[in-house]
């Protein structure tokens, strides 16, 4: 678990090290804010999984809405 957390944080550190200097040099402030918001979402999602915290699962949400619909269609169309 600790190794996973460490790897994830290293990954994000690498991403920041690649992009941030260029963003600041070109004074792209709007981009910089967007960049950090995305990084924050990414860290939440991946660390949440590594630490097994209860974070919302978007895919499961989509599935919960769509599957009953498919079952209904299946029922209508089955012989």
């Amino acid at each position: 678990m600790l190794l996973n957390v460490l790897l994830i944080l290293t990954g994000f550190a690498v991403i920041i090290a690649i992009e941030l200097p260029r963003l600041l040099r070109q004074k792209l402030y709007r981009e910089t804010i967007a960049f950090f918001v995305l990084i924050a979402i990414g860290i939440t999602l991946s660390l949440g999984q590594a630490l097994q915290l209860p974070i919302p699962n978007v895919t499961k949400g989509i599935e919960a809405i769509t599957r009953p619909l498919f079952k209904a269609i299946e029922k209508i169309l089955s012989p």
């Binding site: 981009e31 910089t32 967007a34 999984q49 974070i55 498919f70 169309l77 089955s78």
Partner: protein, 373 residues
């Protein structure tokens, strides 16, 4: 409406290059999943399902092109607020861009699922995802023209290989496996047509690419041509899989097209037997194109949605989010398969068809268009 327009010069592509895009993104996943999923419902009539799906796909791509033609210089994320008003438009724009990422992380999972189950069972799935996504990141930095040229090369090889595989198994196809036709009426056939219909609809990615197309007057023609090529390719794999092993077995295989390539038997030229290695090679390339296209569309959409000038700084963080979503979404291959047969087609039809036609009708009623007369 001054702010609507291409964000910056990303190069131009021709209508035929857009067609290559449309074909290769659908082909990569469809040839693998359609035979099993369609044969599960429609049994020996799977080939009829593909015909129905083809008509539905044509309708979807025509809807998308009609909408795109009203706004020649903008993508759907940019003009949705013009049609629906600021807040609802932003919501719809977000649905579109989430859809691109959604297909993207689905592709990532499919890719690692296949590699783990068929080729390298002892490698952790995350390794495949990481390799494929880093390649997609690299291609996305290159921009649209780079991705386009790469797709053209890959698609040529993919189509040639598919034709080769089908030619080699054609002698083993038994016509009686397709009988009796229409055994259970039309219902199961329509049910079987939903997944391929959804995949055909992925050609609506044109909604993002349209502003970059050079000769826009040809887009309707090339889009239908793309549907036609896809139709022929899907029929080839469906008829091949069902004719070779029968509908029940085809539905049991995880990836019938792969097994088809493995079943090639040729006494005269044994070197052509078991083409699955070749098949895997081209399929990996196809998956990369698909992932890159949707990822690029997603990042571009995200940049337009946030009103930032350059999409490139968003590439790496978006990919990190996509990988996190891919790992989180499905716990095992059985879940992924149930999802790809039941949930995935309906969700992409919802975005590609329902939302698109809703935007088109609203734009039509309100007479909104940025096209010069």
């Amino acid at each position: 409406m001054g702010e609507v327009g291409p964000m910056r010069e990303e190069g131009k592509i021709s209508a035929y290059q857009a067609m290559v895009y449309q074909v290769s993104i659908v082909l990569a996943t469809a040839i693998l999943f359609v035979p099993a999923i369609t044969a599960k419902h429609a049994k020996q009539d799977a080939w009829i399902s593909v015909i129905i799906a083809c008509f539905f796909g044509s309708l979807q791509v025509y809807t998308a092109v009609s909408l795109a033609r009203r706004f020649p210089d903008a993508s759907v994320v940019q003009y949705a607020p013009l049609i629906l008003g600021k807040v609802p438009g932003k919501v719809v724009g977000f649905v579109y861009l989430f859809y691109f990422f959604y297909v993207g992380y689905f592709v990532l999972q499919e890719f690692s699922a296949l590699m783990c189950s068929s080729y390298m069972p002892r490698t952790p799935p995350i390794v495949f995802m990481l390799v494929l996504s880093l390649l997609a990141v690299y291609a996305a930095y290159g921009g649209l023209e780079v991705i386009c040229r790469m797709s053209s090369i890959v698609l040529t090889v993919v189509l040639a290989t598919m034709v080769l595989v089908v030619l080699l198994i054609i002698k083993d196809i038994k016509i009686w496996r397709f009988l009796p036709a229409l055994e259970n009426g039309l219902g199961p056939i329509l049910l079987g047509a939903i997944p391929p219909g959804g995949w055909f609809g992925e050609t609506a990615v044109l909604l993002m690419l349209y502003p970059f197309i050079d000769n826009k007057e040809k887009v309707v023609k090339t889009s239908f041509l793309a549907i036609l090529i896809l139709f022929i390719a899907m029929e080839m794999v469906v008829i091949g899989a069902v004719g070779l092993v029968g509908p029940t077995e085809a539905a049991c295989f995880l990836f019938p097209t792969f097994n088809m390539a493995r079943l090639i038997k040729l006494e005269a030229l044994p070197i052509l037997e078991r083409q699955d290695a070749l098949f895997m090679m081209i399929w990996v390339a196809g998956m990369l194109i698909k992932l890159t296209t949707f990822f690029f569309a997603g990042v571009l959409g995200l940049a337009q949605w946030l009103n930032v000038k350059d999409y490139r700084p968003l590439i790496l963080p978006s990919m990190a989010i996509m990988m996190a979503l891919a790992v989180q979404a499905w716990e095992n291959i059985a879940e992924l398969f149930a999802f790809s047969g039941e949930v995935f087609p309906l969700t992409i039809i919802f975005v590609n068809f329902i939302i698109t036609i809703f935007l088109l009708i609203t734009a039509g009623i309100r007479h909104i268009s940025t096209r010069k007369a």
